[in-house]
Subunit: 425 residues, 2 copies
Amino acid sequence: MAPKTFKSVAEQDRYYKSLAPTFPYLNEPTASRDRDVLLVRAEQPFNAEPRLPQLVEHMVTPVTRFFKRNHGPIPTLDPANYTLTIQVVDGPTTVWRLDQLQMQFDTHEVMAAVQCAGNRRDGLNRVNKVKGVIWGPGTISNAVWSGVKLRDVLVASGVPADPAHSTYQQWHVDFKAYGLSAEDECYGSSVFASKALNPHEDVLLAFKMNGQVLPRDHGYPCRVIVPGVIGARSVKWLRTVTVQPHESLSFYQRRDYKVLPPQANATNLALYWDTISALQAMNVQSVICEPTEDSPRPLDNQPYTIKGYAISGGGCRIDRVDVSLDNGKTWLVARLFRPVSSSAARRNPELNDLPTTKHWAWTLWACQVESGIPKNAVLVCRAWDANGNTQPSEPTWNYRGVMNNSWFKVDIAKCPAALLTKAHM
Amino acid sequence: MAPKTFKSVAEQDRYYKSLAPTFPYLNEPTASRDRDVLLVRAEQPFNAEPRLPQLVEHMVTPVTRFFKRNHGPIPTLDPANYTLTIQVVDGPTTVWRLDQLQMQFDTHEVMAAVQCAGNRRDGLNRVNKVKGVIWGPGTISNAVWSGVKLRDVLVASGVPADPAHSTYQQWHVDFKAYGLSAEDECYGSSVFASKALNPHEDVLLAFKMNGQVLPRDHGYPCRVIVPGVIGARSVKWLRTVTVQPHESLSFYQRRDYKVLPPQANATNLALYWDTISALQAMNVQSVICEPTEDSPRPLDNQPYTIKGYAISGGGCRIDRVDVSLDNGKTWLVARLFRPVSSSAARRNPELNDLPTTKHWAWTLWACQVESGIPKNAVLVCRAWDANGNTQPSEPTWNYRGVMNNSWFKVDIAKCPAALLTKAHM
């Protein structure tokens, strides 16, 4: 199986443009978009991320601060008429109403960070121009999702429950969304069946975040949450789920969200698409959120606490975050703040001291510098995960500007002068 | 649960030494150890690795070239009297004879690389002295293992077959070996139950490698193979398997095989043990095997093929290997040689074109340089895995010298003059 092929990128662009009408952005949930909190990167489709200091004020990101990533207008779905169709190739098709999904399966709650693969795209765009929304380091947020396990619904829809069945080995679970999308007939993606069907991978059909009904911007009334994996796979406004022997044919699986090699560019990228994996789990990442180069410069003779976030993919634990004041010559070790992230541990607090297999949430960190931050400091952070992976010191450019996890730096000399200094003037 | 605690490292050392008698190394399989092929790093226990050019001559490493890592004398086990005891905490205990294990369960074959967490320890020892056998970059090998699935035997021994059972979420599967070990009562380790009990994680009780009965050095008559995970968890000469609610208490799980932070040293390391995860999956790794700094310098006007290996952890695919001739300033992209590594794909060759979820084998790579290798070249390689992880440019020291995956370099100026040049003299 292969997606539609084209003789040139120009032909492909023409094809996808022919699918994509001029979208009506007439019913956007504008009232729920707080422009004091969000930095808007694009208006149509709406794409926005929170400022970094506000992002790490809470372990669980308030809904209003959660980044928003869209590929088209926000669909308007009526929950009374909402249906989710589940198809199994060479098997049954089942149409579920929302109340059936909510009432016929056990509820599960999972704390999980969602991160866009394009987080920190701005860093690669500074190396060389990239294609895509130029995101800063704020397209990550952490929420408590509640809903039902996708596995449970798939088994009730005719997927074999036995994990030794061959479906679990090589098959894929394909998601398609309601609504229009800029680059394909609709938004779509797939994950490995071994992920979607494993009850301990905590893949949810989510109806709520942080206890609230999902806002329209986040997939109302029903979205997928695939913990540990790039946000692109957690499809919003879920319309169909297909259990099939091949990856999604969507543009967003086969053409986008891949780390193309550096020689791939707008004229030759078709040569590389099929040789590179569609991204699933995230790489190891960390970012300094306080101070930023936009916020007042820390006083150089006052204790200061550097703060940030860290995450790795596939539920892998963050074991350590190092912080440097001298551009990576010497390092301090940050204090880590880890929530209990697995749903089992959340239900059984006495399990907290056991090594948890899955760390879906982010880890926040803080590094207290008693002597103050020197005026000429270049701050750097780097995280280490439980597999021994760490971040590379330098960014390596790729055409789509995804998965930038190079050392995050804050050049203190670039910060505006501190407020206190101004008051003294 | 916690392992035995000590007031000081010296007290711990005394305790473990009291357990470890002066071992009799009287029945070592010396005849099977080819010292023309292996670089011996320690005699008692026997620890040896192959030379790099020979290591990558074959996709499947010949048994004689497979690295050997031991923590004590090689046990002498009689297959007719061999038993494997399987215990489930708060459940049954079952004793299996070898012929029962071999005859009562389906046979599975898995191609998987095994890599010691101490591979490339020499690189960290050059930064600062580390504790451990000073390994080069050859403590990795790739074999076809055959045996039975550990899951099948555990289910037959009373572990619930239902993957939604709580055992799968937080429990651990503990392995103990026959024979004596230098640092504890016996060699031991554990893996997550979610790994051991998932049929698609391909955890085996192996009886053969590359079609041959396991040699004594590699665990005869029965060992565990945990694909995608550091070699320390693939316990040889398996004596007991315990399904339990906590990690192994073994020295090799709780005290060794951890990436301690750089400030941890011989006098304070006890402060850090319990804060750092026991290593499971490997980080992303690649090594140049040809040329080496010990082999004749490539002629600078002749085409030359640089060769090596790459691997990542948890079955994550290697998507790209970059090679530099100028110490990382510019990069070429290597050609990759990937075997079909999952057991399902091996049984069904028509599945080859599908994305395979699990890449247990290593990826070999080659990079042809038509213009020849310049005399002053510094070769570098770095791999990228399907999660977007890559290797750091510089090594970061840790006390036990594990998980060194910094850029691998070959300084051509250090190679002895080429043979042809000598002949011309």
